[in-house]
């Protein structure tokens, strides 16, 4: 009796689990991506291109594409729109042969069985022949299952908080260090003594050199101090000389110098001696000129 009761309980539980399974496991969001061909006629199936999160949980269910063909009716022109798969083939593709046809706007819907976005490779609009494609648009229809990958969101069941990243530490092994090996190598004692003597000599030499430097520095300092003192004195003297305030207060005792010479007789007579002298000058000049003749 008890065994029968247990079986019934198990059956009921299983039934409830089956009924609740669709409610718990799937919560899809449906929508359309952005125009994947907006930046060019080849594109990657990533979040930046599609405008939606292109991660595990995104299934593509169809493609709506449109473009305008510009060509002359008689020209051959073929347009292939599709997505590569991971093996180099096409996961879907649609070919329109415009050869011998008028160029017009084309809009098509290509249904695809729900396919995870991870299986989609690069998308493209490829053309062959004479003509151009303008105003192209490729939009994917999708459904999004947020919790297919439980790590997509904290609210998903079975979500495991990620462990903090533990940095790797490298353990230093002194026994494997070449420098340590070299440092701990046995040294030739003669070489060691010689090196010790050389280093002692060097120390003594450096000490003497240091003393000499100190002595010279003291002398130089004394001279510098003396020079500084004499320069101060000199500056003081110069400053005194430039002190002109005494000139402003000096006074010159003065008076009136009157004319004391008077012209006697009121007539000025030419100086005859001077005239004679001038005549001798002429004679002298003639004599001088004579010598050059």
């Amino acid at each position: 009796m008890k065994l029968l009761h247990n079986r019934n309980v198990i059956k009921l539980s299983a039934l409830w689990a089956l009924l609740l399974l669709p409610l718990c496991s799937f919560s899809y969001t449906f929508g359309y991506t952005s125009n994947a061909a907006i930046y060019g006629y080849t594109w990657q199936m990533n979040s930046a291109t599609l405008g939606v999160s292109a991660e595990t949980g995104l299934d593509i269910s169809g493609v709506i594409y449109q473009y305008k063909v510009v060509k002359d009716k008689e020209d051959d022109f073929v347009v292939i729109v599709g997505n590569k798969d991971k093996d180099g083939g096409y996961i879907w593709k649609d070919t329109e042969d415009w050869s011998g046809k008028y160029g017009i706007k084309l809009r098509k819907f290509i249904p695809i069985p729900y396919t995870p976005v991870e299986l989609f490779g690069k998308g493209s609009i490829a053309t062959t022949g004479k003509g151009t494609v303008e105003d192209a648009s490729v939009i994917y229809m999708y459904r999004w299952d947020l919790c297919r990958n439980a790590q997509n969101d904290k609210s998903c069941p079975n979500y495991i908080p990620p462990l903090p990243v533990i940095p790797k530490f490298e353990i230093y092994d002194a026994l494997e260090d070449e420098n340590v090996d070299k440092a701990t190598e046995e040294t030739d004692s003669d070489l060691y003594n010689k090196e010790e003597e050389e280093s002692k000599d060097k120390e003594v030499e450096e000490e003497e050199k240091g003393r000499l430097e100190i002595a010279m520095a003291a002398t130089e300092n004394a001279l510098t101090i003396a020079n500084t003192a004499s320069q101060a004195t000199l500056l003081q003297i110069i400053n005194n000389a430039t002190n002109v305030s005494s000139y402003y207060v000096a006074q010159i005792v003065g008076g009136t110098y009157r004319e004391s010479i008077a012209l006697q007789g009121g007539e000025i007579i030419d100086n005859r001696k001077a005239l004679r002298s001038l005549g001798q000058d002429n004679l002298m000049n003639e004599m001088i000129e004579e010598q050059y003749k």
């Binding site: 415009w98 008028y102 084309l106 809009r107």
Partner: protein, 167 residues
């Protein structure tokens, strides 16, 4: 006995009359939908136009057919208002119907293959390929019979007729 019964039964069958209906419905393999509603712009007092340059919008009609060469699309631009204020003068109607988009390059010849009727207001397209075709319909109404008379103020409505007719 058995024979008699049989005869009687046969007589019964031949003497009674009954009318029996055989019902059936045919779902059209061609549907017509409005993809984009149109509206008139009013660039001046005497003109109503669907041209986008004049702040109007050209209506887009979508026709789907799942059978090739079974239907023809008949689309007409308006030649009268379905509702408007009282108009005492004549309205001159012009318009154009064209293929805007198709779902197959095989439909690219639809416009070239189309014919007109009703003085050019109706355009008929044989739908030779299964798929979807989008048609645009432009409409211009000018009031005053060339005298550039102002339309009376009010609301104006005109109707584009699109049909899918079995060939």
């Amino acid at each position: 006995m058995n024979k008699l019964i049989t005869i009687a039964l046969m007589m019964g069958l031949t003497s009674a009359y009954a009318g029996t209906n055989i019902n059936g419905t045919v779902e059209s393999r061609c549907t017509v939908n409005t993809d984009t509603s149109g509206y008139y712009g009013n660039p001046n007092a005497y003109t109503l136009t669907t041209l986008p340059a004049s702040a109007g919008q050209v209506p887009i009609i979508r026709i789907d057919t799942s059978l090739a060469t079974a239907y023809k699309a008949q689309i007409s631009y308006p030649t009268s208002f379905s509702s408007s204020p009282s108009l005492g003068d004549t309205v001159v109607w012009t318009g154009a119907v064209g293929v805007d988009q198709t779902s197959s390059s095989d439909m690219s010849g639809y416009q070239a293959a189309s014919t007109t009727a009703n003085g050019g207001a109706m355009r008929i397209y044989p739908l030779t390929v299964a798929g979807t075709t989008w048609f645009s319909v432009a409409s211009v109404a000018t009031y005053g019979g060339g005298q550039q008379k102002a339309f009376p103020g009010g609301s104006y409505t005109a109707v584009v007729i699109a049909e899918c007719v079995a060939q």
